[in-house]
């Protein structure tokens, strides 16, 4: 059909979409066809924060003299800035509430009250204790961990002062933040202040509103997210490179398939432990299955993949499609990015959808709440429920025969080690290779899938363009999974897809040209890695001096905006794909796209075409190289049509 939409570049996704259509199962893709985005809402120029509205303020038509305003007199700038700031508050709150759950569990684990949890990585415990200024010398691990848990918890409710991790940023960056007055005081406080300031009739200066949005986003990146990453590492182990597999083909016809979906890795960790229990294995066999097959979805997948090599069933837009296979006995969901549509899809098959967080229920789903003190019991109960459900499969299952090998688990600590070895660990080799031009620069390409773009296409087109041009890519979240499915996360990908210089370095070190650094909360690892590059020397004194750029070409979640804002405020040029949520106001857009360069030496940009966006990132990297006095900018490899066709 000529008007048939291309939905995905992923064959497994297309196969399951066909099955869903045949069986008339509603998915995010079919629903997107029925609901078009509201043209006013998409530009964020409508306000509904008080009951005198909603006030819609589409851009003035040609010839209209007076700019439109809300009933209260609010200008479109105020409205757009309010909406943008509120999204950042929600995104920061999501990461940070996840972090709070982790911190509370960590404290319980340290006190011996969290079933199945221990301190697995003592070196990381010492590392983070040093960050928090905690005495280590002769104290017991338990003592250190308890003090760390308490101090980390205080970061959320702090009212004054500065967040601890701010001190990890390069000194020049800290000076910029100080000068702008945006150093976060406490994580929760910054979120609350956005909600207050954007309430009807409070802050009505878009520059001032966005300043608080920055303070809040920094509290996410250099606060909540970083705490969550670090404490998870201590409890579950800091990721080291591990081989895994990805895509719907990881589901197994003859085993009990359990998909862990969501963001908090607490219960998934215990499910991994419980699934290895011989008693549980025996139960599965008794039910007629060959074993238990645990697979991940979305960021929970990244967490258990990085730490245990548990296979990854897919990214955000594949969540319903995993159930469409008819092979999933049970899916657990906790918080964030889980679609309500899952329950309807589950009902079409035999799948049990189980919600596990006290923060999120889905109507119709079974609720089995996870609490750290009884966590292992809950994990076993969930596995038993899945096993009991194995004989209830309806009709033949159809598992797409598509899966790829991947290498994941590049934490900052591991990169540091890989580049220099145990006794000479450092970022020197990376910096040297940037200086000598083998590596042109580094890009962080992260973020979600969005059903309004062709699934995975923008990630892959952008990343292929970047690595072809010798830009080393760091990735997290659903973008990382897209890379895995496209075969970019293996060392062999360097020779196949990367430019000559990058390929040489990857082969020498034995790393892929795209490094999987974890879940979206782990973007904090990118901040730490970039800070280490600055501190190593040779590439300027600030994050904004580095030849680096960030991007989220298929973003959809509010968390992505919080991440983007803390990247930008950290001095990094960051480009997002469609849509861009301030287009309703030229002034607000100009402030973020141009004036931020003056203030933070990092800016936002918007470019819907991923290849053009990659070229803008490369141009930015070249500008930074020039400013550092590193050789003349080199020729760019531009993709011709034939090369682009090969991307899909």
């Amino acid at each position: 059909m000529a008007d048939e939409l291309i939905r995905s570049i992923d064959k497994a996704t297309l196969e399951m979409l066909e099955k869903a259509e045949k069986e008339q199962v509603s998915t995010v893709f079919s629903r997107a066809d029925q609901i078009k985005p509201c043209p006013i809402g998409v530009e964020e120029s409508c306000c509904k924060i008080c009951a005198m509205g909603p006030c819609r303020m589409p851009r003035s038509k040609k010839g209209e003299e007076k700019a439109r305003m809300g009933v209260c007199g609010a200008t479109v700038e105020t409205v757009v800035a309010r909406n943008f700031a509120r999204k950042i508050a929600a995104g920061s709150a999501s990461h940070s509430d996840h972090a709070r759950e982790v911190t509370e569990t960590f404290l319980k684990a340290a006190q011996g009250q969290a079933q199945g949890f221990t301190i697995k990585d003592e070196i990381k415990l010492f590392e983070v204790a040093l960050d928090f200024g905690i005495e280590i010398e002769d104290r017991s691990v338990t003592d250190i961990a308890i003090e760390l848990g308490q101090k980390a918890l205080e970061e959320f409710g702090k009212q004054h002062g500065e967040l601890t991790y701010i001190r990890k940023a390069p000194l020049k960056r800290q000076e910029i933040w100080k000068k702008q007055g945006v150093i976060p005081r406490g994580i929760d406080r910054e979120v609350v202040e956005i909600m207050h300031r954007t309430h009807m009739g409070v802050d009505q200066d878009y520059v001032h509103i966005l300043e608080q949005a920055t303070r809040c986003a920094l509290a996410d990146g250099w606060g909540g997210s970083m705490i969550s990453t670090d404490l998870q590492d201590i409890m579950f182990g800091t990721p080291v490179p591990v081989v895994g597999t990805i895509n719907l083909g990881v589901l197994k016809e003859d085993e009990v398939n359990i998909v862990v979906h969501g963001h908090e890795p607490l219960l998934p960790e215990l499910l991994v432990t419980a699934s290895r229990d011989p008693e549980i294995k025996k139960l599965a066999e008794k039910a007629g299955a060959k074993g238990i097959n645990l697979a991940g979805m979305c960021c929970s997948a990244n967490e258990v993949l990085m730490r245990h090599g548990i296979p990854c069933a897919g990214n955000f837009l594949q969540q319903e499609l995993a159930l469409v296979t008819g092979a999933v006995e049970l899916m657990t969901v906790d918080v964030q990015c889980q679609m309500q549509g899952l329950q309807d899809v589950a009902a079409c098959f035999h799948t049990k959808l189980v919600s596990t967080s006290d923060r999120a229920k889905i109507q119709g789903a079974t609720h089995m709440e996870f609490h750290p003190d009884t966590g292992l019991d809950t994990a076993k109960k969930i596995l038993r429920l899945a096993i009991e459900n194995f004989p209830n499969r309806r009709g033949p299952v159809q598992i797409p025969d598509h899966k790829e090998d991947i290498v994941a688990g590049f934490s900052h600590e591991t990169i540091n080690y890989l580049l220099g070895g145990l006794f000479r660990a450092s970022y020197r080799p990376l910096n040297d290779n940037i200086v000598n031009g083998r590596i042109r620069g580094v890009a962080g390409v992260v973020g979600c899938n969005n059903v309004r773009t062709v699934h995975d296409s923008a990630h892959i087109a952008m990343i292929k363009e970047l690595i072809k041009n010798d830009v080393l890519v760091l990735t997290t979240g659903c973008a990382a999974m897209a890379c895995g499915k496209a075969g970019l996360l293996t060392p062999e990908a360097a020779r196949a897809f990367a430019g000559e210089g990058l390929a040489e370095v990857c082969e020498a070190v034995g790393i892929p040209p795209v490094l999987h650094m974890g879940a979206c909360v782990d973007n904090s690892r990118i901040l730490v890695a970039a800070s280490a590059m600055v501190k190593e020397g040779g590439l300027g004194d600030d994050l904004s001096d580095l030849p680096v750029a960030g991007a989220a070409p298929e973003w959809m979640s509010e968390k992505a905006l919080a991440i983007g804002q803390y990247f930008v405020a950290s001095g990094i040029f960051t480009v997002f794909g469609s849509p861009w949520p301030t287009l309703g106001s030229d002034k607000v857009t100009r402030h973020l796209f141009e004036e931020y360069e003056e203030i933070y030496k990092g800016t936002w940009a918007f470019e819907a075409d991923p290849v053009k966006a990659a070229q803008r990132m490369i141009a930015h990297i070249d500008t930074k190289r020039k400013a550092l006095g590193l050789e003349k900018a080199r020729e760019r490899v531009l993709f011709d049509m034939a090369m682009r066709r090969n991307l899909t």
Partner: protein, 71 residues
């Protein structure tokens, strides 16, 4: 490994030379390589942190030997 592969490359002065191609063993590793396993005493762990992560915890200098000023 005996069956090395070689690539032909142009040297800086234009002469074509043979260089060793990629050398990695076929197959997949069984698990992750835990490089921290050797750091089995607290003393070793702390020493490691102060040298390997000297960007934050080192007392003897800033970054690498090339950086004169703290960043």
């Amino acid at each position: 490994m005996s069956d090395y592969t070689y690539d032909e490359k142009e040297r800086f002065d234009g002469v074509t030379i043979k260089v060793l191609g990629p050398t990695y063993e076929e197959g997949k590793p069984e698990g992750g390589h835990d490089w921290k396993s050797g750091l089995d005493t607290r003393e070793k762990a702390l020493d490691y942190l102060r040298t390997a992560l000297r960007y934050w915890y080192g007392a003897e200098g800033f970054g690498s030997e090339k950086r004169k000023k703290e960043a």
